[in-house]
Structures are given as C-alpha cells and as structure tokens.
C-alpha cells in the first residue's frame, strides 16, 4: 500500500475461507475484529466491495480505490495479494477500527475496515450505527439480539443505550470498563449512577436529553470531567435520540484525554519551543522546561529534576519541580488545565520568581565511558535494580525514589548539556513509546534553548570581565594622566613661584629704594598673571564649557583674532596676512571657542618663527567637505616623529604646558570638524581645520555674530 494513511483489513466469513483467515491473522491484534469474524455473517466478495466503496466518501483520496480493484481481481483468481500489513504493524497501533454494517435484510453482512484517520472514521462508524437503527426499526427483535450486542461490543468506544426513563438498557464492555461498572448489573441503572457526576453536570445532560427532538443528534466535544479518582479527563459525547422502544437514546462516549493531550503536547511543544529559543535567562528557561515535563497537560510526569553539566564534566542539579506528596500532587494537577498551563508557561518565561526553585544540589560525575557509549543520546527508561544497569544511570535514577524513571538527555550540537530525570512516583503511569518519542523532540528543542542561554551567559560573563579590565585600565590611565598633569603644572608654576617669592623677600628685606621696589613689584605682577594663565589653560582643558553655537561669520572671527595677535607677531618680526574667501556662508559655531582655536594656532605659528621671523597666514575657503580654515607659518617645520604627538595634552615643543593644540583639537571635534597638519622641514607648517557646512534651515537658532 503506497498510501500510509490507508490500511485496509477485510474480515468476513465469506465463501473463500482463505481470504478470511489470512486477513484475520494480519488484523488479529486489533481489538474488536475477532468479534466480527466469529459472526455468522455471509456476503459475497462482490457485494462486499460495492458495499464498501459505497461507504467511502472519496476512495481516490484515501488511495483505496485502486487497492480494492486489485483486491477484487485477485480474489477472483483465488489468490491473495501480499499485503503490506506486516510492514505496517507499527502503524496498526495508531490505527483505529471501524465497523460497518449494511444491507441488513435477513442476512447480516459484516465488514470491518480501518485506517488511521481516527476522528473522522470513528464518527462515521457511529453514524452508520445510527443509520442501522433508524433504517431497521421494525426488524429489531431477533436481529437485535444476534447482532447488536456484537456490534455494540465491537465499537471501539464506550456506548450506552438508555430508555425513556434515562435508565440503562444496554452498555457495552468498554463503557463498563471505562466507568468501573459491572456489566452484569448495569442494565436498569439510572443515568446519574453510571456516568461521572462531573460530566452529567457539565452539560446538564438530563435536561439536554429531555429537550432533544425526535431523531435529534447532539454532540459535545472536549468535555472535561473528573474520573472519580482525582484525574482530569477529556471526553467527546454524542447522543442520538431514536424512536425505538427501549432504545430512546444512544450515547457514545469517547475518551479523548490521550488524544487531546497529544495534540496539546504537539502544539505546546511548538509554542514552548519558540518561546524557549528567545529566553536567555537560564533559570527561567530551566523552570519552563521542567514545567512542561511535569504539568498534567504537558508530559504529565509527577516530578522532574534538571541537572546541567559543569566544566569538570559533573552533572550538577540545578532545579527540581514537583509535589512532595500524592495529595499535593492531586491539588497541583487539578489546578492546571490546558489553557492554564499555556498561560502559566508564557508568564513564567517572561516573569520569574526564583523562590519557586527547589534544588538539593545533587552532583553526578559522568565517566567518559557513558558519554561515548551513546547511552545518553536519547531518552531512556531506567528501571531500578535491573541487572547490568549502568552505574551513572543508576546514580541519576537515584534522584528519585521511584522504581522507574525517565532519563532525558539535553543535547545541542552533539554535546551533552545536561539531563532531566522525571518520574511518576505517585501515579505509576507507565512510560509509553509515544511519550518517549515526543520527549525526544522536546528534549532537542530544550537542549538548543539551553545552549542558547548558556552561550548568552558566557558572553555576558566575558563582557563583564572585559568591562572590569577596561575600567581598571581607565582608572590606571586616569591616575597616570593626573600624575602627568600634576608634574606639568608643578614644573610650570615653580619658576614663577621662585621669582615671586624671591622678589617679595628682597622687597621685605630692603624696601628703601622705591625704584628697585617698583621694578621688583612689576616682576611679581607679571609672574602672577603668568600663574593665572597657566591655571586657566589647565582649567580650559580639563573642564571646558560646552560650545554655545550661533550662526557666525567665520571670516570675522579670524580677522578679529588676527588683530589680537599682531603686536606679539611684530615683536617676533612676523608679518600677518589674511587670505579670506569673501561671501562664506554663516557657520554654526561657538565664536568664543573658535577665537581660542585661531589664537592658539596663530600663537604657535608666531612662536615657531620666534627666532627667524617670517609670515603668518590665515586663510578661509569653502571646500567640498565643509568650510576650510588654515593657519600657516614659514618656520622650521615640525619633525615627523613629533607630528603624532603634538595634539596630545601636555606635549610641548617649546616648553609650556603643551595644552594649546590639545584644546584646539577638542574644540574642533566638538564642532564636528577635523584638524590636520602638514609640514615641510625648513619651509613651514600649515594647520587645516575643516568645519562641517550646515545649512541654516537644518539647524535651530538664529543667525548671530555677524
């Protein structure tokens, strides 16, 4: 069979015995089939096939049509096709049966077919059953006894038939099994005694039944109820009202707890998986993972412990969740429903209360052998006391006092990150293969999420180390800088202090000569203003005010400053030239600070030509990158090795504090500009400042200063 969705099993006592036997073998493990094969039904293969096809809504879609045709051909040749049912055995477990009855005209016919569309087929199974009763109301007598009991017991769902007084007139084995009733005594019992009270109340069943019209049909899906043993279950209930004596209501009750749980688990797996990948807080994530493993609507384990591998290869317990006693367990589980779990998990992934964490700090060293043996590659069920149990697995299992635990490795990128040990110490629910499969999927998602969170944590740690080291460096550097400042300042104020102190002493010793006193006092005044200048420089550099920008004519700033410099320049036999481009656009700058720039650059230029005399030239012009302002001298130039240093604070070419160019650079950068220097030995040096050209309409404020 190509189509894995479809598995066909024919069970009939037909003319060809062989067919029946062979097919029965293949189907023997499916409950409900034997009942039919044992029946006295006879039908021709042709009838059967046509009958069968009539009940397949869309045989092409199910991939059955071809199969049936081929089957029919082969049957005629009395040859049995080799069915793929053996190969399909694993699938059989998930496939449910459907019982079909048709053409009940004296001679009963039987057919069972099955495939894995559980919901739809069950529904149809039940519909056919309804139809059977509706069509054959007058033929009930004998047929009822010979057939319906078998049918009723064959249907793979709990079925109960009520009379007009809402008392049981028939209930199938599954029904009795499900609700713990004695099949011998169930007939005649009132409805409220056979169905769980919570279920009857949930939909107000008695009233709902009485309100049903003739031949009405009603169904309730996802009906929560308590099974009387403290466990939340989920049911689907279908009711049809018949017009047959004794058979007033047929109730089919299907337990969809497992099914809903599986669907839910799948959906939850997906949702939680998504959420987990984005959760970088490790503790929060671990708690979410354990909640998934333990919550009833999740994987439903009673308790779970999570251990993470540390750097020494030791599995260390990080967290455990789960109730301590069966009573607490019952309380916890009945509290958390499907929706609640999802809300709870979403909330716990975003908000986190660490006090919920229980942890006993168990440590399990892993030996190399176990890691390489592949034992911890996928979820494994560990039964204690079994012979030949790996000692590490045994130690892990000792996290719990349960006889059976599941050890669920968390793996990401082929690396074991940790394990979850989960048990069912209170409910003793066995661990099914299906559950293991889903756990395995879950574990790989959880593993990736843990790996992400771990990587994030490592990055964060590394970052904080780097930050620490950097802070340390910055502190050390700042201290060094402070030391340098102190040394510079000390040196600079030493000379004026010696002069001031010395002259003050001379005056106080002999103030008789007014002329001499005046000279000496003049020196003191001069030296004090020198001290003040030094201090101002230091303060300008260490705590300069923020620039106060206004729209300014740069040429005007340059011109005014050039005038200030001229006396100093003339003393050094330096001529000052201004080469300013007319009509420059107004520039967004702090005129006071820009004057300082022009002054410092100009003064440096004059000092460079102190011994030789020369030309100091200021120039402005518009450039591509912005406004260009240049200060050039014809001095000796600056040596290349010094070029890299000159903008550094406290680097001085000619004595002094060495702050002039540092202040210039700082101001230019605060204006968003750049400063560069080019020098030709013996020919001179040019400093070039480029200020960003801003249009007046893109900046706030009005035009000022010209």
């Amino acid at each position: 069979m190509r189509d894995p969705r479809a598995a066909l099993i024919v069970l009939l006592r037909a003319k060809n015995e062989e067919i029946a036997d062979r097919w029965t073998d293949a189907a023997s493990e499916v409950p409900g089939f034997k009942a039919i094969t044992r029946g006295e039904y006879k039908v021709g293969i042709k009838d059967f096939l046509s009958l069968f096809l009539a009940h397949i809504e869309d045989p092409e879609e199910l991939g059955l049509h071809d199969l049936l045709r081929r089957l029919a051909e082969r049957c005629r040749k009395a040859r049995i096709p080799e069915p793929d049912l053996v190969r399909g055995r694993n699938m059989l477990r998930r496939i449910l049966t459907e019982t079909l009855l048709r053409e009940f005209a004296g001679e009963p016919s039987g057919l069972a077919y099955m495939y894995n569309r559980l919901d739809r087929e069950l529904e149809r199974c039940e519909m056919l059953f309804w139809q059977f009763f509706r069509r054959q109301p007058r033929n009930m007598g004998q047929m009822w006894r010979t057939l319906s009991e078998k049918i009723i017991d064959t249907i793979p769902t709990a079925l109960v038939i009520l009379d007009g007084n809402l008392s049981v007139c028939r209930a199938n084995e599954r029904f009795c099994e499900r609700f713990g009733l004695d099949p011998g005594e169930v007939v005649g019992m009132p409805l409220e005694d056979v169905l769980p009270a919570s279920l009857v109340e949930e939909v107000d069943l008695e009233k709902a039944l009485e309100d049903m019209g003739r031949e009405a049909y009603r169904e309730w899906r996802d009906l929560p109820y308590n099974d009387g043993q403290g466990m939340e279950r989920m049911a689907e209930l279908r009711v049809r009202r018949m017009d047959v004596p004794d058979v007033r209501y047929i109730l089919v009750l299907r337990d969809v707890t497992e099914h809903t749980q599986q669907l839910y688990q799948l959906r939850m797996l997906h949702q939680i998986g998504q959420a987990m990948q984005h959760t970088l807080d490790l503790d929060r994530l671990l708690h979410a993972i354990l909640t998934c493993v333990t919550a009833g609507p999740g994987f439903g384990f009673n308790r779970a412990v999570l251990l993470l591998m540390d750097e020494q290869g030791v599995l260390e317990e990080r967290m455990r969740v789960g109730p301590g006693t069966p009573e607490e367990a019952r309380r916890t589980w009945s509290k958390i429903g499907y929706k609640e779990l999802r809300d709870y998990l979403t909330a716990s992934l975003s908000s986190w209360e660490p006090q919920k964490v229980k942890c006993s700090h168990l440590r399990v060293p892993l030996d190399e052998g176990l890691l390489s043996s592949g034992l911890l590659r996928s979820p494994v069920v560990v039964r204690k006391g079994r012979e030949g149990l790996d000692p590490t697995l045994a130690r892990l299992a000792s996290c719990s006092e349960a006889e059976e635990v599941v050890v669920l490795p968390l793996i990401a990128r082929e690396e074991l990150l940790g394990v979850i040990v989960a048990d069912n110490v209170f409910t003793h629910r066995p661990v099914t293969e299906e559950l293991i499969r889903m756990l395995s999927t879950f574990a790989s998602q959880a593993g990736m999420a843990v790996a992400n969170a771990e990587a994030h944590r490592k990055l964060r740690d590394a970052y904080s180390h780097i930050k620490e080291a950097q802070d340390h460096l910055v502190r050390a550097e700042r201290l060094a800088a402070i030391g340098e400042v102190a040394a510079r300042v000390a040196h600079e104020i030493r000379n004026p202090l010696v002069s001031i102190g010395g002259f003050a002493r001379l005056i106080s010793k002999d103030p008789s000569d007014p002329e001499a006193v005046r000279t000496m006092a003049g020196v003191i005044v001069r030296e004090v203003s020198r001290l003040e200048r030094i201090l101002k420089n230091v303060m300008d550099f260490t705590a300069p005010g923020h620039p106060e920008f206004v729209w300014t004519d740069l040429n005007r700033v340059v011109k005014e400053t050039a005038v200030l410099l001229t006396p100093e320049a003339e003393r050094a036999e330096v001529s000052v030239h201004c080469d300013l481009s007319p009509g420059l656009p107004p520039t967004w700058l702090d005129p006071g600070q820009m004057k300082q720039v022009v002054l410092n650059l100009g003064r440096n230029a004059v000092q460079a030509m102190q011994d030789t005399g020369g030309e100091l030239r200021f120039a402005t012009c518009p450039g591509e990158e912005g406004l260009i302002f240049e200060v050039s001298d014809t001095g000796p130039g600056i040596e290349e090795r010094e070029l890299e240093e000159i903008f550094n604070p406290f680097y001085s070419l000619r004595g002094g504090l060495g702050l002039g160019l540092a202040i210039v650079r700082k101001i230019v950068e605060e204006h968003g500009g750049e400063i560069s220097v080019r020098t030709v030995p013996g020919r001179g040096t040019t400093f070039r400042v480029v200020l960003p050209l801003r249009r007046e309409d893109e900046m706030p404020g009005r035009r000022g200063h010209g």
Binding site: H491, R494, N495, V498, S499, G501, R505, L506, R654
Partner: protein, 118 residues
C-alpha cells in the same frame, strides 16, 4: 671689586631675581638665558663661578656643564635647579654643588661663599 658670577637661567624673571639678590651680596652678576651663550661667556671672560639651571629649552644645563668643564675644568659650577632628581645623574657630580631652587636663596649664598672662599 666683588667676585664675578655668571647665572645661566632661561626664565627672565628668575634671572633678574638672582641678579638683584646676588648683587646685594656684593657679587658682580651677569645673566645669560641659554647654554650656548653661557659657554661663549665662559670662554671669553671666565667668571669666578657659574650658577647653572638645568631645565632649559635647547641645550640643557647638564650638557652645558660638560662643555664648560671641557673648556675650564677649574671653574666652579653650582647647579641650581627646581628638581632634586638630577642628583642621580652622574654628570652633575662634576659640579661643585647642587642646590634645589627656592625663593629663599640662603643655601645658594652659603654654597657660593664656601666655593669662592678657597
């Protein structure tokens, strides 16, 4: 006629101060503000003693000391600097004395008196 001193000091105010203060002690004082002028002075017109600053732009006092010693090994040179750290520089050991600058020049006066007595 008092003894003749040469003060080598790049700071103008300080130079003036040493000149006035030492002249009051009866010395005849000339001041130059750099090492080259000091060497030329010593060659042409050897003073009785030299008071030498170390921290100067261009050639510093230690270099100047070496050159002066080469021209006139007998000439007493007193180092007068703001920093005591240069004492560690063995070049300074050829000076007759090492005085740390202060506005109080009594130490300098004592040293000069002692040096010039002999």
């Amino acid at each position: 006629m008092g003894k003749r001193l040469l003060v080598v000091e790049d700071d103008e105010s300080e130079g003036l101060y040493y000149k006035l203060a030492l002249e009051r002690e009866g010395y005849t004082v000339d001041v130059v503000d750099n090492a080259d002028d000091a060497l030329a002075y010593v060659k042409e017109n050897p003073p009785d003693a030299v008071v030498l600053d170390i921290n100067m732009p261009g050639k510093d006092g230690i270099e100047a000391l070496g050159e002066i010693m080469a021209v006139n090994p007998e000439l007493p040179v007193v180092i007068n600097t703001a920093y005591s750290a240069y004492k560690d520089n063995f070049m300074t050991w050829s000076a007759v004395a090492y005085v740390v600058k202060s506005s109080d020049i009594s130490e300098l006066k004592e040293v000069l008196a002692k040096v010039l007595r002999g």
